[in-house]
């Protein structure tokens, strides 16, 4: 299948007796942890990759990936039992992917306001089930906090990261097309996944009518051609089950096998990191303490550098759990900033419509992406919106109405119904905004002082709500979507606003922010803790602001950049 090879040279550390000391420890094997492991291993460091969940081996552990609709007992409907036991994960998980999401009963957390914390505790983390949309940030984003005064200024600008975007894109393999849009910089692309008839139509109409609104191909980490021994994408659109063809980027399909191939990687699943151990004398971290998920035994591992990539909220909790004489309120927390400024992207507001025409046109294959409309609000003086700052981009897609749409229409039954059900219905377009969320210190991650989980670790308390800027932006996103559909000749236009709850977009960010000033930020411009020089954090928690672009690509680039810096510092004996 797809020229895949089994990862070679992977050591599984199951007892840890003989091997307790490494050059580097990476906590978390998701999208950024996988990158840290690959980079550090390739630079010759003996690296221990810790993952709190079970192992998931590429291809072998994708049990639903080749199943047909009729192979599923519940035909991809969510069972009441699963929903009752997993009120949060069932928002995202389906019958084909639910084994890649945690059990809500086993992993409780506290919500001050509703916040969906979607999690995948396994090797690969959420890189198995991510949306795979990959967009660069630009200086519009890196300068945003400085310009409007919300949050901490980014300590880097686009020129600091652009070559690292290049670097990770070359490895990941991203389908897309160069457009020359300054605030959505071009990357290194494989051929784009083409637009369908209605999307091309829409793109042309929008181009003719609006000066600063562009309809472009979705940029996606699915391979439009074979790349680095993976893929190509088979256009099945079943990515969240794991891809036996390696058609999309995940830690499991890409970074971990490359890390393992160096012979320098030791992977330890079922290892819940409870603390980072501080050497009070040197002020550096000595290693980490873990709790074995299965035996609940505690054990310690040591290394010269530590990369924390547990995902935003979990990374925050590890820091807050790591108290010492020096850091009574959490490791590296002299700024008091750890746990503040939690962000997500708000999504699910937009519009849809139907189009009369192209009746004799259809598509074949199931493309795992759609189209994208980059931000067009507040990009310059002319595009300034009077009522909100920052902006949003649309993810959109056209399709012909299928049976899932037709069965909900107001039709009867019998032969005419069957006929309608089995013929391609009218063309439709759906467009939803992904919008920026302002950093707000009132949105916090803290630890409950009393309640504990099954491993004796404090329950995480999430206090998050969206603010007025997001609310107003959403209104504009709905209206602008409807306006664009109207311009392009659609009818039956309906605006929608599905769910304005934090966590819905699964883009948690911001709780250990980067910044130039150690008094007001946690990490420096190389994602190194101001207070503890041999600890690096390159997951979403490092983000001073979120832009409106899907963030994973930026985590990858920051990770590769931080690894390069860390190894340089190691060689200079600075760490």
């Amino acid at each position: 299948m797809g020229g895949q090879q089994k990862p070679a040279g992977i050591h599984i550390n199951n007892n840890g007796q003989q091997e307790q000391t490494y050059d580097a420890i990476v906590v978390g094997s998701g999208i950024s942890g996988g990158w840290a492991a690959k980079e550090l291993c390739e630079k010759g460091l003996k690296t221990l990759l810790l993952e709190r969940g079970r192992n998931v081996e590429h291809i072998k552990d994708y049990p639903t990936s080749m199943m047909r609709p009729w192979d599923f007992a519940d035909r991809m409907e969510i069972s009441q039992k699963y929903k009752a036991e997993n009120p949060i994960q069932s928002i995202v998980a389906n019958e084909g992917s639910k084994h890649f999401f945690v059990n809500d009963q086993q992993h409780p957390y506290i919500q001050q306001n509703p916040f969906y914390w979607i999690r995948g505790y396994q090797v690969g983390g959420r890189s198995l089930t991510w949306g795979r949309q990959t967009y660069r940030l630009s200086d519009l984003d890196f300068e945003a906090n400085l310009k409007d005064g919300y949050g901490e200024d980014w300590p880097i600008r686009y020129q600091d990261i652009s070559s690292w975007y290049d670097y990770v894109e070359k490895f990941v393999g991203i389908s897309g097309r160069a457009e020359g849009i300054p605030h959505l910089p071009d990357g290194i692309f494989l051929p784009p996944m083409e637009m369908n008839c209605i999307e091309t139509h829409f793109s042309e109409k929008i181009k003719a009518h609006f000066k600063e609104r562009f309809v472009i191909h979705g940029r996606v980490a699915n391979l439009s051609k074979g790349w680095g021994g993976r893929g190509p994408c088979q256009y099945r659109n079943l990515c969240d089950r794991g891809c036996p063809f390696g058609g999309y980027f995940s830690s499991n399909s890409a970074t971990i096998p490359f890390a393992a191939a160096t012979g320098n990687l030791t992977l330890r699943p079922h290892a819940i990191v409870s603390q980072i151990i501080l050497d009070e004398q040197s002020g550096k971290a000595r290693g980490v303490r873990i709790i074995d998920e299965l035996t609940k035994e505690s054990r310690e591992f040591f290394a010269r550098i530590i990369f924390l990539n547990a995902s935003t909220i979990a990374t925050t909790s590890i820091l807050l759990q790591s108290v010492s004489k020096r850091f009574t309120n959490g490791l590296g927390n002299s700024s008091g900033q750890i746990g503040l400024n939690l962000m997500d992207h708000h999504s699910g507001a937009g519009a849809s419509g139907e189009y009369d025409g192209y009746e004799n046109q259809y598509y074949s294959g199931r493309r795992p992406t759609g189209i994208y409309i980059p931000r067009f609000r507040n990009i310059n003086d002319q595009s300034r919106h009077p009522n909100f700052i920052r902006g949003y981009g649309y993810q959109a897609g056209g399709q012909r109405t299928d049976w899932m749409g037709i069965m909900n229409a107001d039709n009867t039954f019998g032969e005419s119904y069957k006929n309608e059900l089995t013929k391609p219905g009218p063309w439709t377009m759906w467009m939803g905004a992904w919008g920026e969320c302002l950093p707000n210190p009132a949105n916090t991650v803290t630890l409950d002082p009393e309640r504990k989980d099954s491993w004796g670790l404090p329950l995480i308390n999430i206090n998050f709500s969206y603010g007025e800027n997001e609310r107003v932006m959403r209104q504009d996103a709905k209206e602008s979507a409807a306006e664009m559909l109207e311009v392009a000749g659609f009818r039956k236009i309906q605006t929608f606003d599905y769910d304005f709850t934090g966590g819905t977009t699964v883009h948690e960010m911001g709780t250990a922010r980067m910044g130039l000033n150690p008094k007001t930020s946690v990490l420096n411009k190389f994602n190194q803790m101001h207070d503890v020089k041999n600890v690096f954090i390159t997951d979403g928690s490092c983000m001073p602001s979120g832009g409106c672009q899907n963030p994973s690509l930026t985590y990858m680039a920051l990770t590769a950049r931080a690894c390069d810096y860390a190894v340089g510092e190691l060689k200079k004996n600075n760490l």
């Binding site: 009729w70 009441q80 099945r236 659109n237 074949s364 299928d402 049976w403 032969e415 089995t422």
Partner: protein, 191 residues
């Protein structure tokens, strides 16, 4: 306006207090569903489904054995209101068939079966707009809506339905975003 409509109008006007609904009707909605009745009436479900999606020159509901799937889905994925409304609906189909045609549903001719189902279809349309939404929220979906939903899902995700009536491509291998098709082009079973 029948009694249910009157009650629902009040709900909508006043913001609604659930307690105005009779105890018996709440009991029917929330009682432990009678799954045995469901299992015993597989043939009835099969016949009803065949009226909704009949065999033509392509497979129909019975060819896809949708009754088996419908029963499993009602049990596993339906909430309690859906389960009870469906089971009570099956009972109503039987009593309606007996009262109009003096025979149980499965012994009726196809035109008679169509007539019975048309009665339930019309009944499901008694509410529209906001009243309909309020009704669904409070009382659950109507029998006809539930039957049509599960029958369609069961059929379109079955092998005969997906490959025989619709078009299913297991591993497409490539994507073509815009191609000319003929008038008898079948719709894709999955997206």
């Amino acid at each position: 306006m029948n009694r249910k409509n009157a009650i629902l109008s009040i709900f909508c006007l006043t913001g609604g207090v659930v307690a105005t609904y009779s105890g018996w009707e709440w009991y029917v909605l929330y009682k432990t569903p009678d799954f045995r009745y469901l299992d015993e009436n597989k043939d009835l479900i099969a016949d009803l489904s065949e009226i909704i999606i009949p065999r033509t020159n392509t497979p129909g509901a019975k060819d896809a054995k949708v009754q088996e799937t419908i029963i499993a889905l009602i049990k596993n994925t339906g909430d309690r209101k859906t389960q009870n409304n469906f089971i009570e609906g099956l009972k109503s189909v039987e009593s309606y068939s007996l009262s109009i045609f003096k025979n149980p549903f499965i012994l009726l001719s196809t035109p008679q079966q169509n007539e019975v189902l048309m009665h339930f279809f019309k009944k499901s349309k008694n509410f529209s707009g906001n009243l309909g939404k309020a009704k669904n929220k409070i009382l659950g979906k109507s029998f006809f809506e539930i039957l049509k939903y599960y029958c369609t899902v069961a059929f379109c995700t079955s092998e005969p339905g997906a490959t025989g009536a619709l078009s299913y491509d297991y591993i497409p291998g490539k994507y073509n975003g815009c191609m000319q098709v003929s008038a008898d082009q079948r719709s894709w079973a999955t997206k």
